[in-house]
Amino acid sequence: MRQFGGMTKLQSPKILGLIVALGLSASASAQMMINGAGATFPYPIYSKWFDEYAKVDPSVRFNYQSIGSGGGQKQILAQTVDFGASDGPMSDENLGKAPGKILHIPTAAGAVVISYNLDGNPALKLDGETIADIFLGKIKKWNDPKIAASNPGANLSDKEIVVVHRSDGSGTTFIFTDYLSKISPEWKEKVGNNTSVNWPTGIGGKGNEGVSGQVKQTPGSIGYVELIYAIQNKMPYADIKNAAGQFVKPTIESVTAALETANIPDDFRFSMTNDPGSNAYPIAGATWLLVYEQQKDPAKGKKLVEFLKWALTKGEGMAKDLHYAPLPDAVQQRVLKRIDEIKS
């Protein structure tokens, strides 16, 4: 008891000092706080940007909540954040609900890879039709002639294929089902494209870590994850046949190659799956920041524009280290021009 009393006596001046110091620092720096919320996929690069940008402009702080693309779209519509973030472009329906014009600012792109668990981890080559048939449950065994056709010499057993997909709503699923919908009319009709879909077969794993865990643990399984997770977990992933008929390995370069040949409209709401370039990896997608063209708070709007310009120039240089594909120069210039149109 006495000891406890002694400790509080010793500590209380310290705590008091701490409180005073905190109070002082809070009042001394009237920092501007810019709030954002949305996609989880670009969270690592965004937080890196916010960190680095604090050194460039100490008068502004960013607060980003990675609550998911759906939440990001909802919050920018409700104007509870200064910017939103999404792994898929907003639908016309949602844009129609906005009180002002919302701009899509693409920031980076990533690849979705097809990973698998087979004895001896053979290098596999797959085409879109085959992937669609596997995920539709039509191809059931690993030694199916359709798989064997692109993989002569690979030792494929008659093991049953266990399909693993994301169970949580996710931009990764959006990109993957967008690709399958383009490749396979049957997929488009039966399943379609969304952040979650009604899967015809398979087991659902939560998050990239859930799918990679499940694939690693289940012999004969196949699943899709973001490139970075496959690299980190040392999982094998397939080369995919692109629209030009080439089998392409998913890398940052082959994703940027896809961006170069993507058909990008002026509102930047584009899909980059199954792009025509000969080096383009076909299962890839971009991620966007969502901002109002007419900013409500002039001071904040100005700071936000400054940051966006910095992100699209200096920030892009940091993408590769974090395994994101940066925008190609031509796209970058177009986006910068669009940022200039933000009024505050």
Binding site: G169, S196, W199, I203, G213, Q217, T218
Partner: protein
């Protein structure tokens, strides 16, 4: 000496209690207000869930509870597989955790040597402190591979003729989900049961021994039977947690909205689909359907608890009449 102090104290208390009853009244009102907070909270949650799902309720009506399609692309939503999955996984969990929990509690209070009791109790309470994400990861990387390689093939080999244990074994499945919930509700069932068994008066035990009962008979008749009502309460507390368990279950149950006879097939629960899809739901009707899932979970929990209370009452009445006879 001690006695005189006690006398002084009690007379002091009597003097203080006399002048005013205001303290008592204030205390009564205060506790009433606190108790009402809980009621108000429950009503508010229910109302908010209802408000958030009116569109979906209007669009799908009663079909929401009876259809099995969950298709965010076509915007067709039915909750039946999730309701089924929640009930079945909780049932599996209870079937495993209740005998285990009550037996552990009986061992701890009746049979274990004194030096072993406290360490065991601490261990069990530590189990409750494991975050559910960690349990889920452990489920994916340790429990499921082991289940898939040993117990599941064993069950399939000897009981494969029962539909429950038929079909291919992938790993993540309804059974695995039930087992992980069992692990999560074991501590609460054990701790509550132990407190209840400890509160059984020693007179009960002594009376049983005096009649020549063996240790097993004394435990069964004088202790477990006496504490039946309390133990049932422990089970209901466990069930409440089981119905709402989310993260760990999501990681091992396979997340497939289907109603399958085999426990080796993947399933899905109400809480899991909420955790999975709420963050990325962009369209109104999709979000509303998820809100309605929340409402259904809310309703299921209340309903199951009411049923359990009813069951408890019937049992209590039965044993009372038997005692009279």
């Amino acid at each position: 000496m001690a006695a005189s102090i006690a006398v002084e104290e009690s007379s002091a208390q009597a003097r203080m209690a006399r002048p005013s009853r205001f303290g008592d009244k204030a205390f009564e009102w205060l506790t009433l207000a606190m108790a009402l907070t809980v009621v108000v909270l429950v009503v508010l949650i229910g109302w908010q869930l209802w408000r958030g799902s009116t569109l979906a309720i209007q669009k799908f009506g009663f079909h929401f509870l009876t259809t099995s399609t969950w298709d965010p692309v076509a915007e067709q939503f039915g909750a039946l597989p999730f309701i089924y999955g929640t009930l079945v996984s909780s049932l599996i969990a209870l079937l495993i955790a209740v005998p285990l929990g009550i037996a552990t509690a009986a061992y701890l209070t009746e049979l274990a040597p004194l030096w072993l009791r406290q360490p065991l109790v601490s261990l069990i309470e530590m189990l409750a402190a494991i975050p559910s994400v960690i349990l889920g990861l452990w489920g994916i990387f340790v429990m499921i591979p082991w289940l898939r390689d040993y117990p599941f093939p064993f069950l399939k080999r000897f009981f494969g003729w029962v539909p429950l244990f038929s079909g291919p074994i992938y790993g993540p499945c309804m059974f695995a989900g039930g087992i992980i919930i069992a692990i999560m509700i074991l501590p609460i069932i054990t701790s509550v049961s132990r407190e209840i068994l400890r509160s059984v008066p020693d007179l009960q035990r002594e009376a049983a021994y005096a009649l020549g009962a063996t240790r097993w008979e004394a435990t069964r008749i004088a202790v477990l039977s006496y504490a039946k009502k309390g133990l049932f309460g422990a089970v209901i507390l466990g069930l409440g947690r089981a119905l709402g368990e989310t993260m760990a279950v999501t990681m091992v149950i396979g997340n497939t909205p289907q109603i399958a006879a085999s426990l080796f097939k993947p399933g899905y629960t109400l809480a899991s689909v909420l955790a999975n899809e709420f963050t990325e739901a962009t369209t109104d009707i999709y979000l509303q359907a998820l809100f309605e899932i929340g409402l259904v979970l809310f309703g299921t929990t209340i309903l199951v608890n009411l049923l359990a209370q009813l069951l408890l009452r019937t049992i209590a009445v039965k044993s009372a009449t038997r005692a009279v006879q």
